[in-house]
Subunit: 421 residues, 2 copies
């Protein structure tokens, strides 16, 4: 038994490459987790004949489930529901309960932006279209203003909105419903485990895995994928439940060789771990080349005000001197990108914010500004603690400006973990 | 006359979302420039039956040209050329001249990494596979080690390698060849224009477009797509050159109604416009709920050190008082999320950084911290100028914590544009 699925991404802006498709890869990942095999992803524009052709292609390929994304908005170029309805041989009917729900959502939205009642009626009429659903379909309540639908059949079609912030919660609702579960009843139940590493090159892990293939009995039962992301390696292993012992042996094997680089085996991200370690502490940041990315990352999660005192983006040298108290002579002598300046920035952040933990980052993000001594990608990091030892490192990070800035925040997170762990 | 094309992306790592597809969007862009209409992009794994199904789907859809990417390597899971050959009803033949070319490339590569002659023979045998091409095909010389091919026919198939650094130069060679030009002989040269708006709900634009359909003669000749991104609406219109007058009438029509919301008609993004307006100025930021996202956004582009003095992330109230000089009594009286505090933060940023332009953001990003008076999504913004009037606004932004933070930076960028424009 197995279950196969296809993903139909719609949207001229995605087909033409103006907007990157975030939904196809995300749904692909979820299907993998569920043990549903993905056959094809197709992308087409907002054209009835093309959307219909993509649905027909998937059906001809014998998939059990088609997931569509996009084309649920109020404008005329949003037509997915109507086409899916026709494709599934159903009638399009007005769901008045749904219409009222959408109206209530819109009323709330419009009152916020201060639109009058006359305008509201026009908008409501435009959005009646969104309350038209295939007869007999399972309606998924809107996360934004657009509802989704599941049309049971062979194949079953799950219709989701385009914006990821609407699609993702709606997907989670949909997978729990009987109409979805029936469509993928043939799926294989897999276990999936994730090991995350930092500071190991991908080729180093590849070599270990080649050797493990010889040394770990039953290795072939493990489906391993590795992926380099934000400077971390993520190794995901999928296996049927009776291969659990083999997986345990493989993870022992990896831990034996790479215990220094493995930082997570329970699914946690470095951000979760740092947030946990910062409980009861006060942290401040002093950033140059990252321009605030680290403080933004530290404040991504709710409740971060409990430990983040604040941060300073000291882009100009005067800001480093005036606001962090970095001695201008230090900058003259060693340059703004140097370990002594990183240390002075971290000390300044501790003092100015009355913090007990500080991180400083100063580097050359490029594309200009590199020298023979300090090429583009040179970044100095300091972690300072009032109740522990400071640590300072200089790294040469690969990639373009955006990669270097992003990667720098990851390095800082791992240094924080080490300092506080 | 017109020419239609399809893109077949192959690769299990792309299908499963572990690697983002960079080729589909890039080729889509090139086809658009050429005036070749893209019907579909499909993504499938390294499986013969799935690749064949994708090719057949495109042929059934009547495309004139299929472009494939990936699957040209020496390993067994690279099979695109063999499948395309069979699909086109040709024989696979060894191209000895090509074999010698690949051998020469490999010899050079191997000598660099110091591989001996014995190993070289093994590698060369493995790569003989890459010199097998469809009889009568046009061979595209390797950029890496993999050659591409053009197989003329109905449809013509252009086979390109997966790595973008190989695919892109090979594409440029391919489009100049008669075999390619003949396949797309029916192409239409289109014009494409983009209008960007801020502060208009998508349904508002939809309504205007519905009315324009009645009021603007020839409207049907315009192919319009709209897309909501980071709180902005992007409207892209594609049309044949003889519909230029119709497009001009439509853009006049839009400008007439939405002149306050239209900020770009020349393809520029708000970030470009703000960077331009900041030339010769010194800007400083004072952020609370956005935690550094605005300063990070302002420093995304190279050269931003010319205008960004720095920024302060004043998350804690003490930081607002100590580092920005916000009177604690003001916070007690009005709350940290209030217009007087936003104004005081902006003034503090001007003074502390010696800047002439400052932006302050303070708000409730949620999910906690909302009150009846100031629900989650309430954000206060101030733009302060030493040589102009300050402006302050309070908005109620929709979405989750991440949306509210992200959207706040967009609002700040648009307020900056208005203040400096």
């Amino acid at each position: 038994m197995s279950a196969r699925a296809g993903i139909v991404v719609t949207g001229t802006e995605v087909l033409t490459g103006r907007v990157a498709d975030r939904n196809g890869p995300w749904i692909a990942d979820r299907l993998l987790e569920l043990g549903v095999e993905l056959a094809h992803t197709t992308i087409c524009g907002d054209r009835a004949a093309d959307i219909e052709a993509a649905l027909r292609f998937m059906a001809n390929e014998g998939v059990d489930l088609i997931v569509t994304s996009g084309g649920l908005g109020p404008t005329a170029d949003d037509m997915t529901v109507a086409i899916v309805t026709q494709f599934c041989g159903r009638e399009l009917v007005l769901d008045t309960e749904l219409e009222n729900k959408i109206a209530a959502i819109l009323k709330k939205l419009m009152s916020r932006v201060g639109v009058g009642a006359g305008d509201f009626d026009a908008v409501r009429a435009a959005n009646r279209k969104q309350a038209m659903v295939p007869a007999g379909a399972v309606v998924l309540d809107p996360v934004g203003t657009a509802p989704g639908v599941i049309v049971p059949g062979a194949p079953t079609v799950l219709v989701l909105p385009g914006p990821p912030r609407e699609l993702q919660p709606m997907w989670r609702t949909a997978v729990e419903l009987p109409a979805f579960q029936q469509a993928v009843a043939g799926r294989t139940v897999y276990r999936q485990d994730t090991i995350r590493m930092f500071g190991l090159p991908e080729s180093g892990l590849a070599e270990t895995l080649r050797e493990a293939e010889q040394d770990v009995p039953g290795f072939a039962a493990l489906e391993i994928t590795t992926c380099l992301r934000r400077g971390e390696i993520e190794m995901v292993t999928r296996y049927e439940p009776d291969a659990a012992d083999t997986y345990r042996r493989l993870s022992d094997y990896l831990r034996d060789r790479h215990w220094q680089q493995i930082f997570s085996e329970d699914g946690s991200q470095i951000d979760d771990q740092v947030a946990q370690l910062l409980t009861g502490r006060r942290i401040a940041t002093a950033e140059s080349c990252t321009g605030g990315l680290l403080s933004a990352r530290l404040t991504e999660r709710p409740g971060s005000s409990a430990y983040l005192a604040g941060g300073l983006v000291a882009y100009a040298n005067e800001a480093k001197a005036d606001l962090l108290g970095v001695d201008p002579a230090l900058i003259d002598e060693h340059g703004a990108v140097s370990e002594p300046v990183a240390e002075a920035m971290a000390d300044g952040a501790l003092r100015r914010f009355g913090a007990d933990t500080a991180v400083a980052i100063t580097g050359v993000a490029g594309p200009g500004g590199g020298t023979d001594d300090k090429p583009v990608g040179t970044v100095c990091f300091t972690i300072a603690l009032t109740d522990g030892e400071s640590s300072t490192r200089t790294l040469l990070l690969p990639g373009n400006r955006s990669d270097i800035r992003e990667r720098s925040t990851t390095v800082a997170m791992h240094m924080l973990r080490q300092a506080l762990g």
